[in-house]
Subunit: 193 residues, 2 copies
């Protein structure tokens, strides 16, 4: 998606060989028009595939997941990051350790918001090592539902996330793919759409 | 807002005299069409007032704040809940203790995303005792900017949040006002718009 790539060229900050900050339009300040265009782009790609729900992980994925769900005409579900295990059977939970951020949490989904016949599109802002997207996929499969695809705003293609998800059989669609980061260096490669 | 009131009558769950669950369309599963209509309603109310940014608190306020910001044609800023104090001057922080949830965090705003001439609209999902909205207001004022108004989806009008915000000089606009909660009981009173 050329528009997102341009925005990253203009406002993205490469802080190291692995860290890209997009705080001014994705993660802290959010550009609503860009989010609407991202939703439109994902919806064009995924329309007519029988997707029943868009899932995302709180909280940076909420904006693009909402605009995508709105265009697809389906509900959006926010997978919650909780600190504690819930011990009753009303929720699905899986532990996520983010090596990028050095944090660990229980990704949580209420059993009420997923059915075995659901066909899920997962939307997230970044794909690095794929911990979050893999965790979200585990929850969906545990509920007996299926994943149609995983839509990513910014893939760091030099990290192992994409391979890990594709090896597990998932289709990944990234709007922007970054092949290399360094101090003041952002190199792009061809994206999926 | 009759539509939101109707949705609460249909799907809201009063768990106690203070707790209302709206997990099926606001907090966990999100109804994108309802969020778009909420954004439209807030934008109609606040249009032409010179608002420069919509602020919200992660993460349940993000969806309605995004749709409001999109219709007003301004950026949205997500105030972050952080566990630690940041010791440099690049951020504004204030401690929030939620008596409702029994949690405490540092509400955080990067200094880059607020200027003294900003006129801020704060959007949040719930107003109970007003801790989160008061904290967001402190951050805006600390930055020398001004608050035009505070837009709330669901006000629990039997709690002290509205009075606290109005006593501090802020204009509060609630889409739905709930005067009483109890097991399977939800009583509404007249809302602001």
């Amino acid at each position: 998606m050329k528009l997102l790539e341009e925005k990253i060229r203009q406002e993205g900050q490469a802080l190291s060989e692995t860290v890209l900050k997009v705080d001014s339009f994705v993660n802290h300040q959010v550009d609503p028009v860009l989010m609407q265009q991202i939703g439109h782009t994902f919806a064009q790609h995924y329309r007519g595939k029988g997707i029943t729900k868009v899932f995302t992980i709180e909280s940076s994925g909420i904006a693009p997941a909402l605009t995508t769900a709105l265009e697809l005409g389906v509900p959006m579900v926010i997978l919650k990051k909780q600190t504690t295990k819930v011990l009753n059977g009303d929720v699905y939970q899986t532990n996520i350790t983010s090596f990028t951020k050095g944090t660990s949490y229980e990704l949580t989904l209420s059993a009420k918001y997923i059915q075995p016949d659901d066909k899920i599109l997962i939307i997230d802002d970044f794909l690095a090592n794929g911990e979050a997207a893999s965790g979200a996929s585990r929850l969906v499969e545990e509920a007996g539902a299926s994943i149609y695809g995983i839509g990513i705003l910014i893939e760091k293609s030099f990290q192992k996330g994409r391979k890990r998800l594709e090896d597990a059989g998932y289709d990944v669609c990234s709007l922007v793919r970054i092949s290399r980061l360094g101090r003041d260096l952002i190199e792009f490669e061809e994206a999926d759409i």
